[in-house]
Amino acid sequence: MRKLKYGFFLLVIMAAGLGITNSYYLQLLTFIGINTLLALGLNMLMGYAGQISLGHAAFYGLGAYTTAILTTALNWSPWLALPAAIVLVSLVAFLVALPMLKLSGYYLGMGTLGFGMITFILIRQWSTVTGGDSGLVGVPSLALGPLSLASGKAYFYLVWVVVLISFIVCERLVDSRVGRALRAIHDGEQVAAAMGIDTSRLKIGVFVLSAIFASVAGFLYVHLVSFISPNSCDFLVSVRLVTMVVIGGMASIWGSLLGASLLTILPESLHVFSDYEMIVYGLILMIIMIFLPQGLTRGLLDLYERSAAVYPRKVKSREPADE
């Protein structure tokens, strides 16, 4: 069943790649893919492990800047810069997680916010290396040997294949012992610990994993746009990431896709409103959170289930409580 789902998804990606020729739509979809990666990683942390992070843009930025600096100043190949970025970000995430995850609730949120802001300020002020506010230009595009991945279409495929792989990885994780242990932590940390789960090791592990996802997303972004500036990793970006996860639906892998799509497309379609864009954006955030606090995925599923009363068909018996 699951293989069918992923096979279908792959088919959709191929069809979209072949069918859509307009480079604007292709690029929009590529950005949605990158944001989905970000949302997915964060969702593992927030939805399944139940930890808040209000500074996740920092890992995105660190991944992006590491590869940008290595490929421009030191002329590394991007394929070497990628593992370097992942290693660096994992290290930072690990060091941050050690003390940070001892906090909980609001305090954890604030702690991650503080970390995110400090990273942002450091990136911006260390201008000799990072280019400061003007950013770094001339980041090379990707190529696999002789095959250039610079075209919009090639990059679209690259990003979405990475997303598909991440989906599979996450779903495997969620269904494994680790996943169940995570959900136990989410529901009640002390109880989980009492049952012998090494809560701090698991929490740190998920934190690092979500940071890795973010750094890969950063890598993909930089080599697509050939440019990076601190704008891309400030507090508002962290807020947008959390919003994607929550609106899409926490603890829902496909919810990450939905949330990322919505929040990438929304500002684009709100162009029409120009000066009213902020008002509409804020209103939409509030309204969705007020009426569908579990996120859109669960919200729409609820609607679907309730609609079963109208159409007399058998509602599939609900899968066991977790999803």
Partner: protein, 387 residues
Amino acid sequence: MKAALNVLLKGLVILVLALLIGGIPSLSWSQNAYKIGGLFAITGPSSFLGEPEKKSMEMVVEEINAKGGIDGHLLEAVIYDTEGDPTKTVLAANKLISKDNVLAIIGPSLTPTTLAIVPVVEKEQVPLISCAAGIKITEPIKPWVFKTAQSDVLAVAAIYQHMQKQNIKKIGVLTVENAFGESGKEQLLAQAGPYGIEIVQAESFGGKDTDMTAQLTKIRSAQPQAIVCWGTNPGPAVIAKNVQQMNIKIPLYQSHGVASPKFLELAGDAAEGIFLPTGKILVTQQLPDTDLQKSVLVKYIEQYEKLYKMPVSGFGGYAYDAMNLLAKALQGSDGNKEKIRDALEKIKGFVGVSGTFNFSPRDHNGLGSDAFVMVQIQKGNWKLLSP
């Protein structure tokens, strides 16, 4: 009944989402119109740049259309808001090129957003006339990228030349923490040596900071002969007030970032005596009638203030010049982007609001030292200083 409503609601939600994704279709009123794209920071912290730029561009388009367009084609401006965000700018640029099929793009307003789309316009071969000041935009030269804003290089040169005449050798520098401030600081450091000036202390401040007395104290203790503040409103106004409050008597220089009536309003009487470089637009009435730019400036100011009922700013002038330059290049191009680009590069002696433009294959900014004049604020007015 309730359940049916629920289904209806769900269907509505999907419909709305689909509409949002598909985009509300825009009406194009003329099939053979020349579409020109515009990317400006209309909202966000740099909206003081994007707003007048957008208005100026629209004003020129209207004026040209009233006269029948170019070669019989009416102009259509398609303008998107970048919010000063590079990622949004990249998406918007792609939208303009692939979805709206524009012939050329005017803007963006800022250096980082411009740099973000340079690869895009080079790849898609669409002429871009940026309204941003960063020197990296046109150096090194890229075939499809032009800009109309004066470089920081020229502004700093103007300040240093004035200082040389006053025999100022040691200065303190206070720059804002954004791309504009950074670029200014780079130039101030780079050109200090050649003008025999030593920077004894350099500090920075945040765009929305409320008090800079600490930074000023540090600068004062290094005993400079003058202070240069490089930023855009409101920070420099706060600094002007702080300088007054702290009884600092040495001359204060500002950048062209505050060359607008807004600064006078914000700084109040603390603005008295401040020196700054500015485009000629601020002192139009004081220019001799022999000045080539005077008639262009007068026309721009009159037109803008009549149409929008608000005072002009030098920043809007960048887009005004860009659109007029583009209009000139469009003539006889028949909508061919390559021809437009070539025509742009050949423009010489074009008198605009920001200066006189002389483009060449090696110079895509085209401005000379006449782009800036030094003024001093006296009794709440800009007083043109003799060169």
